[in-house]
Point group: C2
Chain length 153, copies 2
Amino acid sequence: MLNETQQQRDERFMREALKEAELAAREDEVPIGAVVVSNGKIIARSHNLTERLCDVTAHAEMQAITAAADYLGGKYLTGCTIYVTVEPCPMCAGALGWSQIARIVYGASDKKRGYSTLLSGNKTPLHPKTEVVVGVLEEECRQLMQSFFRAKR
Amino acid sequence: MLNETQQQRDERFMREALKEAELAAREDEVPIGAVVVSNGKIIARSHNLTERLCDVTAHAEMQAITAAADYLGGKYLTGCTIYVTVEPCPMCAGALGWSQIARIVYGASDKKRGYSTLLSGNKTPLHPKTEVVVGVLEEECRQLMQSFFRAKR
């Protein structure tokens, strides 16, 4: 992986987030997964658990932030990247803002519930230094969501 | 309490949120407290624990939402009111949106970090049916914050 480009690395970690999303789907949860990477290493992995935990706050990102801070022994994730299969909602964007995370990489956009639509016209709750990368493995991430909701109908 | 007005009831519950905020101050946490009320009864109480838990997501409101859903055995708080001493941030406003809570009553506005400033534009992440009441025991709520930050300097 020495000659890996940034894009290849982003795709490699997004595949790990996708594995988490698949676990969520198998548990009949909205299939969204996330991993947090620090110094090239995954330090937290999680998937949406709102149904199992009966808790609207149990989004993949929220759990990943908590787990990563726990691993690092500090509440700020300034050196970290979060990979998440779907665009964060305003709650998760707010939490990522507080965490001061360095990068947010997401796969599929969420035109209905994503922070960039729901908060359009507003300032974002993200930290000004946070870099956002959109559309990594977008098709796979969206497919997973679409087949989940199709099966629900 | 039979002849209690809505305002008197709101103040009574905000005093309980203030007690939580005072607990936070004593633990050297930013002094914000919250209670959730369902059918005239407090079903969850919490205060900010971001330092102790080393977790940026451990705001009073987030914990209160989780605890109230746990008490009710369902993730939606459609019949509930949250009383919180300070205006929610975008993360907490987003979480309250997901919870579909009926009423949000807060004391002091937060011009820097509150959702209504940070997200000043047209949309909020709150549920369209949620009623927001501002400024209940505002002075007490703000005093507690001010003396906490004054002591920090």
